[in-house]
Symmetry: C2
Subunit: 301 residues, 2 copies
């Protein structure tokens, strides 16, 4: 792997370039992105030069698609027929099934490796990129074929940049993130919209840090989220239904003063979530600052 092309030099794409460099990658890093993103990427040292998608496709050993989900789908179509047979394509999109489906229409299954780094921070764009962004964070891969030599090499770089690789089926990934990422996002949005609808200035005076936690995701960009939700509609609908069922139970239990048990189930699970997966300094920096945005936003869900 001598030449890497990064399509979408935003937070994730530029952090991938910086992480490769820090891990000892000495090859060329081609950026394919808007002029502003290219400038920021060059300034950060995340890419070495810019190129068109066609030029990059003909030169790169690895093409890393770090755009929003809808742009990744378009880029895959554009790349069909442009890519050398020994080049590996991988992506960092927040949903996997529709991207993998599109990829197998356009490429050999062995030439495409779906990916989703569960990493990010409050700020978007190459300016916010960090070489350490993927360290100790889950990085889902959804292989459809036994690993080729380029796949093995890419995975060895993921290990070197410190990512915690987990392999699963694209459908399984999408069902999982519908519950752990897309549902929390929509609940936060629904809570903020509920309070917005009251038009009561007291609501913006009399609150604690719990409300800040619970409405942080609500600040996410609709631009990023609409394609994510559109490409995971059924799983998200099922997750919303599951939540609604628990909410119905909770309302009945509240009315009859029997909430203790449900409260304890939630508390035990939330505590276990933290125990099982020790949070890293990256978790802190992503979730600590007021108004901060977590990975499920700036890495586009």
């Amino acid at each position: 792997m001598k030449t890497v092309a990064i399509a979408g030099v935003g937070l994730i794409g530029a952090s991938f370039g910086l992480a490769l460099r820090e891990a000892g990658f000495e090859g060329d890093l081609i950026g394919v992105s808007s002029p502003d993103a290219i400038r920021a990427g060059l300034r950060k040292g995340a890419i070495t030069r810019a190129a068109s998608l066609g030029e990059a496709a003909s030169q790169a050993d690895l093409i890393y698609l770090a755009q929003p989900v809808d742009r990744i789908l378009t880029t895959i179509e554009q790349l069909a027929g442009l890519v050398r047979p020994d080049t590996l394509l991988t992506d960092a999109g927040s949903t996997k099934q529709s991207i993998v489906n599109k990829a197998v229409e356009c490429f050999e299954a062995s030439q495409f490796l779906g990916g989703h780094p569960m990493a990010g921070k409050e700020s978007r764009g190459a300016e916010a990129a960090e070489a350490s962004l993927f360290r100790a964070r889950p990085y889902v891969l959804t292989p459809l074929a036994p690993p080729s030599e380029p796949v093995r090499e890419f995975k060895s770089w993921l290990a070197r940049i410190g990512a915690d690789v987990i392999e699963m089926h694209p459908g399984e990934h999408d069902r999982t993130v519908a519950l752990t990422s897309h549902l929390p996002q929509l609940i936060s949005t629904a809570l903020a919209a509920t309070l917005a609808a009251r038009r009561d200035p007291h609501l913006e005076q009399i609150f604690g840090t719990g409300l800040l936690d619970m409405t942080r995701l609500a600040m996410s960009s609709a631009d990023l989220w609409m394609p994510i939700l559109r490409t995971n509609r059924e799983n998200v609908a099922a997750a919303l239904d599951a939540f609604r069922t628990v909410l119905t139970d909770l309302q009945a239990l509240h009315e009859s003063d029997r909430l203790v048990e449900l409260f304890e189930v939630g508390s035990a699970w939330a505590t276990e979530l933290r125990r099982l997966r020790c949070t890293t300094p990256a978790d802190l920096s992503a979730s600590q600052r007021p108004g901060s945005r977590s990975d499920s936003q700036s890495s586009a869900g």
Copy 2:
């Protein structure tokens, strides 16, 4: 105000003692609490000595009730007939109407001043107390009578410890916190319980910091919350209904790919919430750490 009695030497009670000291209070600080809490309070310098409730009541110029809501209700009953007519009672309970109702049964309206400091941190107990806990945080007061001289003096101390005093009717307070504190708590609990019910180990692997934000409140103690919810049942039921209505809309909009507008309403409100009320370092320390608990928990909602 020469002698202050603090009933419940936990995080809030002990922080009140420390804050008074730092603001220049030189009088006696009597603690009424469990032996462990008294020991911790003495060690921190938050109280100067321990006494029974009856002794404290006969000696104090100000009695500060910093217990959980259900204990405050009991303590008010116990204090009836024990308190000097020139002593002011105030509380730090998370709901106000039931406490104020109980107080007017037992005391002259001018002798009791309901209060709710919207301050706290992840840890409970006097060991975690800080003199700065109330600084730049909302401190709701629910007066029922024109301010007496002791009320004016207490309010001048709140100003000196840096609290941001907001006066409102106890019912208005309870309707507001049902939306800004109790609803977020129950939504976080419902989300954690939804994920717990799946019994899917992937859920605990494939997630970002957004899920940590959204399940932090779920770790709260049921002991603290059951009395809060019990004393605010109707407002909380109404808040849950309002949220459920928005959730129903959101589900329909998701199905028909028309979520953008609701998303933008939520995003605008969540952003405005932060703009209107600059978060302080105290907000950060409360909400930053993984597994941290915010004020709506450790100060009992």
